[in-house]
């Protein structure tokens, strides 16, 4: 009789990737990459405190023209990051909003977007 072993991996990927866009309706100065990361960490600090601010979040790419970025976060911290981004309302006393365009545990999946697919 052959012995076999069954392994079930739930959410095996250790990082999650998010493509987000920051909306700043008033035409003011745009944040650069460092200020963008500071904004993300500030959002985490407001909602989840020092523990949230210490979450390992990386800004992989950032485009200042379109204010869109790809963020990477540890999988256990995805809920904290996403909720913090949702509830962020102000950047330097200007109204702002984060729109999450795509999210996936695989970075490759963020390259194609079936929402903007033109058939």
């Amino acid at each position: 009789a052959a012995a076999f072993e069954r392994r079930v991996l739930r959410c095996a990927a250790e990082h999650h990737y998010l493509r987000v866009r920051l909306e700043l309706p008033d035409g003011g100065a745009r944040p650069n990459a460092a200020q963008f990361k500071q904004l993300v960490v500030t959002a985490l600090r407001e909602l989840h405190g020092e523990v949230g601010a210490a979450l390992p979040v990386d800004v992989l790419t950032y485009e200042e023209k379109t204010l869109s970025a790809i963020l990477r976060v540890i999988s256990s911290g995805l809920v904290k990051l996403w909720s913090a981004l949702t509830l962020l309302g102000f950047y330097q006393n200007r109204r702002c909003a984060f729109r999450v365009l795509q999210t996936s545990p695989f970075l490759l999946a963020l390259s194609g977007n079936s929402r903007e697919l033109v058939l």
Partner: protein
């Protein structure tokens, strides 16, 4: 059945300044703990832990504090307790820290633990006595405490153990 379960966290306030004992009150302590939770866990943590948060019991003489919170958020509370660095009252700030002694599900288990803990602490105090006067003093107060002596203080079971 379905009910709300609470966790009771027993801690003691340790401070080097003797004047800190006077400002140990339920309101100041509650505010200090909530402030620490807000700093460490943010708005979400503060809201989570504040659902059923009270200072259930407080003893300024021994610095014993019993806090209550929901079972779902007691870990947030316990992890924020080391961040309480000072107690503030009447524009006076005293540095102190909170030592977590026990986490129990009911007030009764915490009370049982506290009685046991106080017994061992009294014995340790007796061992650490430096001169004979202190020793006599402690021995006298130990032998004199009894449950039936004063009717008004019969509720203080947590402090003195009755039949010693």
């Amino acid at each position: 059945m379905v009910r709300f379960k609470n966790r009771y966290v027993l801690c003691e306030v340790v401070s080097e300044e003797p004047r800190c004992r006077r400002c140990i009150e339920d309101r100041t302590l509650g505010l200090a703990v909530r402030d620490a939770i807000a700093r460490v866990h943010g708005d979400y943590g503060l809201a989570c832990c504040s659902i059923s948060f009270t200072v259930k019991y407080l003893n300024a003489y021994t610095g014993t504090v019993l806090l209550r919170c929901r079972k779902d958020s007691y870990r947030l509370l316990c992890s924020a307790l080391p961040f309480v660095r000072y107690l503030e009252s009447r524009a006076q700030r005293y540095p102190c820290f909170l030592n977590t002694l026990h986490v129990g599900g009911t007030v009764r288990t915490c009370q049982k633990f506290l009685i046991q803990y106080n017994r061992t602490q009294l014995l340790r105090l007796l061992q650490n006595c430096t001169n004979e006067e202190e020793r006599q003093c402690i021995q006298k107060s130990l032998l004199s405490c009894s449950l039936t002596e004063e009717q008004s203080q019969s509720g203080d079971e947590e402090e003195e153990d009755g039949t010693e």
